[in-house]
């Protein structure tokens, strides 16, 4: 109560003053009324001012009052220089907003614990090995269910193992009219929900009893998000039935809705349907790795013994499987057995997006942190210059008794104003920017759902950042301003160079940071250009991809009927078919043997294609012929140039034959009928692998590759969708995309990095330029008298210009050299993000150097102009 009255009194200090004055006045009046002599009363009373001050300090909080006064004073200081304040606040706001956005993304993807009980005891199993195709170290997290079962039994009592399938898109129908829609499905262990301590929002969740027998538990739990999107939170959703697209016999019943915050175990993806692991068709297949393994340690168990037990099971399993390899080479088998099992903390879940974007996000956040430092240096220099202008005011304050801390507070409060306003604007920027970045990464075909709440974690980061920034650019100038010697300052100036020396050091730092940002941005932009201009080996233009399924394996002739029908439609130029589109991420691989010999080293890729596929993809035969309708699998094959080079030594391969070794050890004889140039198969970065194109067999799934006559193939897609069903009523289209979209998805991360890094390098250069301009201009302003005298005794303009800029330019050189060194050091950490570009490439080094030189020259021009135009007469008379 008393504290509260003191706080409220603090904010109405003048009223408190008036009341005290009134009470003291009434005392004097009472004394005079009693007949005492007025002079005597006043003398007996003593100094009313002193009494008022003593009383006042009792009735309000002195430090709060002085703070309040400083806050008001600081605001007035800002308003006095609206333009510089606005520039400072906006540049800081951009940098703070970018840092906050980066934090939001990193937090949402990598740090934020899953909303489950005790996320700290959750681990994910990783396996480190050597890649089969390229021989590089590779980490994987996929396992087979039978292996999972053995592992789970081995650590029973010490840890619970949870199988979580990769979240993938499935086709499904709710009604009987076969209207196909898509949802994200995740097959998980039934005991995942109780083990993670999750509760249903509606109905019930899966339990261990829903996950006992393969194919016997047709139940589904839907996510809250899906419930809201698809069913508008209809409580009658419980009991609805759905049919999974590919398998007409799997009729699932929805039994419950998961809690709102649990969106699956993969940050970046929101799962729609949770199905029991037992309902995955691959659950008994020892050759199909389709799940991640989460390990939940029991409270008293240590990770290492558990890992060792799991590793023993893993090794035995691999040895067992290696015995069955008839196709693989020795090197392949030894690499297979040398895989190492790791237990990785997974409080934040595990997802492919984490793997793809971890380094990219960290690199970006370092860039934006550097931009924040650059902006802070500008503000620090601004504050230093202003403190210099206010040296006399500070000296006056000191000499009438202000403490040193009081002056520090005065300047810091002003910095806090800047930081606070910048943070507020930056928060708005981050509000928009973080989802914007997610939007850049997300594509129609591969949507990214990153939950980005603005909660206490983000708030705490924002406040901490604002405080850090305040001290970063405010403390130096504040301490410097408060260390002033009143006598010398009032006389008209102590050492004016000291202040400039601090500014120059800051300029060097700023240029160094700017150089690093430019340099790294250059690397990212070059990487993107190299990747985007990477010849794919086929033409993606005007190509529409229609993915279609059939309920049971259908012979090629049935698929041909559909293709024929599509060909007859307007707007369609050519129609061909493939097992999947090139570069879509799908792949099929195996081993081959030449001339009946043993298995060749290294994997080869396969793709089923129809006759006319080469034509549709605009791939021109180098030799031989295209596949024909009469060709069948285990007969004819087309190979790429890499294949011909590696296995036939570059000789004309047409007419030669080889054998494919299938997993059961059978040898399938294939004769080369055609040779084509290399085309990108799965990835733009990896070296091209030997690839074999073979005719189709009967199948349930096909991608129609349609070259359209329209520049916007997607528009045609919706027209073609019903036509597929018209041609064959049991076939259904599950997905429509363009080859261009698929190609662009290959470079999403690189484009993001290039775009954002380029943007921030431009901002960094602009800010550094402004900073240079400010310091040069300030230097000229400070040396006006000196320059005036020099001009008066006949100095030339060139001489003046050199004097004004030499020091600052040498700082720029020092900064650039430091930046170069820093940049070279940093390349090591981002190597995985780069493609065909080295830190020592001339353009990568020249661009930042030229950018900084240009910025420095541009920034120096106004200051030099001002210096040479100083009129000595006016200058010397004024002082």
């Amino acid at each position: 109560m008393s504290l509260w009255s003191r706080i409220t009194n603090t904010f109405r200090g003048s009223r408190v003053d008036r009341e005290i004055d009134e009470e003291l006045g009434s005392h004097l009046a009472e004394g005079i009324r009693e007949g005492r002599d007025p002079a005597e009363v006043r003398q007996a009373f003593g100094s009313a001012l002193q009494i008022r001050e003593a009383s006042r300090d009792l009735r309000l909080i002195a430090w709060l009052e002085s703070l309040r006064a400083d806050v008001i004073f600081g605001w007035r200081q800002l308003m006095k220089r609206k333009v510089t304040s606005t520039a400072a606040i906006l540049s800081l706001a951009l940098a703070i907003g970018a840092c906050t956005s980066a934090f939001r993304l990193i937090d949402a993807l990598l740090l934020r614990p899953l909303p489950v009980a005790d996320p700290g005891s959750l681990y994910v199993l990783l396996r480190n090995g050597i890649g089969f195709a390229d021989g590089k170290p590779r980490t994987s997290d996929s396992y087979e269910y039978p292996l999972f079962r053995q592992m789970r039994a081995a650590v029973h009592g010490q840890a619970e193992l949870i199988a979580a399938g990769y979240s993938d898109r499935v086709d499904l129908t709710y009604s009987t009219d076969l209207e196909v829609e898509q949802a994200r499905r995740q097959n998980v262990s039934g005991w995942m929900f109780p083990s993670l301590g999750l509760r249903p929002a509606l109905g019930r969740l899966l339990t261990a009893n829903d996950d006992l027998t393969p194919g016997a538990h047709p139940v589904a739990v839907i996510s809250y998000d899906y419930w809201r999107r698809r069913f508008a939170q209809d409580p009658n959703v419980i009991g609805r039935r759905l049919r999974l697209g590919n398998d007409l016999h799997q009729l699932f019943e929805i039994v419950g809705v998961a809690s709102e915050r649990f969106t699956g175990t993969e940050p970046g993806t929101v799962t729609d349907l949770f199905l029991p692991a037992m309902m995955n068709s691959m659950v008994e297949n020892p050759g199909s790795a389709w799940l991640r393994i989460f390990v939940r340690l029991h409270p008293d168990a240590a990770p290492e013994p558990v890992r060792q037990r799991l590793a023993a099971v893993f090794r035995a399993w691999n040895e067992d499987r290696a015995n069955g390899f008839t196709g693989g080479s020795k090197q392949f088998i030894s690499r297979f057995l040398d895989q190492k099992l790791l237990l990785e903390p997974a409080a934040a879940g595990a997802s492919g997006m984490q793997r793809d974007y971890r380094l990219a996000l960290v690199a970006l956040s370092v860039l934006v942190a550097l931009v924040l430092l650059i902006a802070s240096v500008n503000v620090a220099n601004l504050m230093t210059a202003q403190a210099a202008a206010r040296a006399r005011e500070m000296a006056l304050r000191l000499s009438i008794g202000a403490g040193r801390w009081r002056l520090v507070q005065l300047v810091l409060v002003e910095s806090a104003w800047l930081a606070f306003l910048a943070s507020a604007i930056g928060a708005c920027f981050a509000w928009w920017a973080a989802p914007f970045v997610v939007g850049l990464v997300s594509s129609r075909d591969n949507p990214v759902h990153l939950i980005l709440p603005a909660d206490w974690r983000v708030m705490a980061f924002g406040v901490a950042l604002a405080l850090a920034v305040t001290f970063l650019f405010g403390l130096g100038p504040a301490l410097r301003a408060s260390a002033i010697q009143p006598a010398s300052a009032l006389k008209g100036g102590a050492d004016p160079h000291a202040r400039r020396r601090l500014m120059h050091a800051l300029i060097a730092a700023q240029v160094a940071f700017c150089f690093v940002v430019q340099f790294v941005a250059g690397l990212f932009v070059t990487t993107f250009e190299k990747l985007a201009n990477q010849p794919a080996g086929f033409s993606a233009e005007r190509l529409l991809i229609l993915d279609a399924i059939s309920p049971r394996p259908a012979l090629p002739v049935l698929w041909d009927q559909v293709a024929d029908h599509l060909r007859s439609l307007p707007g369609v130029e050519t129609v061909a078919m493939a097992g999947f589109p090139l570069l879509s991420g799908s792949s099929s691989n195996g081993f081959i043997a030449i001339n009946g010999g043993p298995a060749e080293q290294g994997l080869v890729h396969f793709l089923n294609v129809s006759p006319g596929w080469l034509d549709a993809m605009k791939i021109v035969l180098t030799d031989g012929r295209d596949l024909r309708a009469t060709d069948t699998y285990s007969g004819a094959a087309i190979v790429n140039a890499t294949f011909a080079q590696r296995y036939f030594g570059g000789d004309h391969p047409v007419g030669k034959w080889f054998e494919r070794l299938d997993p059961e050890g059978k040898r399938i004889r294939l004769q080369v009928v055609g040779l084509i140039p290399d085309a990108r198969y799965q990835d733009l970065r990896e070296p091209i692998t030997p690839t074999i194109y073979v005719p189709f067999q009967s199948r349930t799934r096909t991608s129609f590759i349609i070259r359209t006559s329209s520049q916007n193939p997607l528009a045609l897609g919706s027209i073609l969708r019903p036509e597929v069903r018209r041609a064959r009523p049991e076939f259904r289209v599950t997905n429509i995309r363009t080859q261009l979209e698929i190609n662009q998805a290959q470079t999403v991360r690189e484009r993001l990095l290039a775009m954002l890094a380029f943007f921030f390098s431009a901002v960094a250069l602009l800010l550094a330029g402004i900073g240079l301009y400010g310091v040069l201009d300030y230097g000229v302003l400070q040396r006006q008298r000196e320059i005036g005298i020099r001009v008066a005794i006949g100095a030339q303009a060139a001489d003046i210009a050199r004097r004004v800029t030499t020091q600052v330019f040498s700082m720029v050189a020092v900064g650039a050299a430091a930046g170069l060194a820093l940049g070279m050091l940093s390349v090591r950490y981002i190597e995985a993000l780069l493609y065909q570009v080295k830190a020592t490439d001339a353009p990568v080094l020249a661009t930042p150097a030229l950018g900084i030189i240009a910025a420095a020259l541009l920034a120096a021009a106004p200051a030099v102009a001002r210096a040479v135009r100083i009129d000595p007469v006016a200058m010397l008379r004024a002082d």
Partner: protein, 109 residues
């Protein structure tokens, strides 16, 4: 050597005691009461009375209010709060203990 009229830390006690007998006095009246009731021996320093009053008020032992007088003049008058009453009895008993002890020392030495 302090003057004989020095209050020596007993100002709070006197103010509380006076206001417990005569609630609603203003500062000047309290000062006069200290002088009159002590038989002109004790004098509160006129200036330092007010910071003391404000301090006691902030401690929550006194409650102040403005009393309108003629010609728009206002007087700030003080009353004891319940906490002030308790404080008074505490201080009175402490005063007794101290004076008894001091007297005992004076007698024995």
């Amino acid at each position: 050597m302090p003057k004989p009229d020095s209050l020596q830390g007993s100002l709070d006690l006197l103010v509380l005691k006076i206001l417990s007998r005569r609630p609603g006095l203003h500062g000047y009246a309290i000062m006069s009461a200290i002088k009159d009731w002590s038989g002109d021996v004790l004098r509160a320093d006129e200036g330092s009375l007010y910071p003391a009053l404000h301090r006691i008020e902030e401690a929550g032992w006194l409650r102040a209010e403005w009393l309108a007088k003629d010609e728009g003049r206002r007087l700030r008058v003080y009353r004891l709060t319940p906490a002030g009453k308790k404080q008074l009895s505490d201080e009175e008993s402490r005063w007794q203990i101290v004076t008894t002890a001091v007297n005992r020392v004076l007698r024995t030495v």
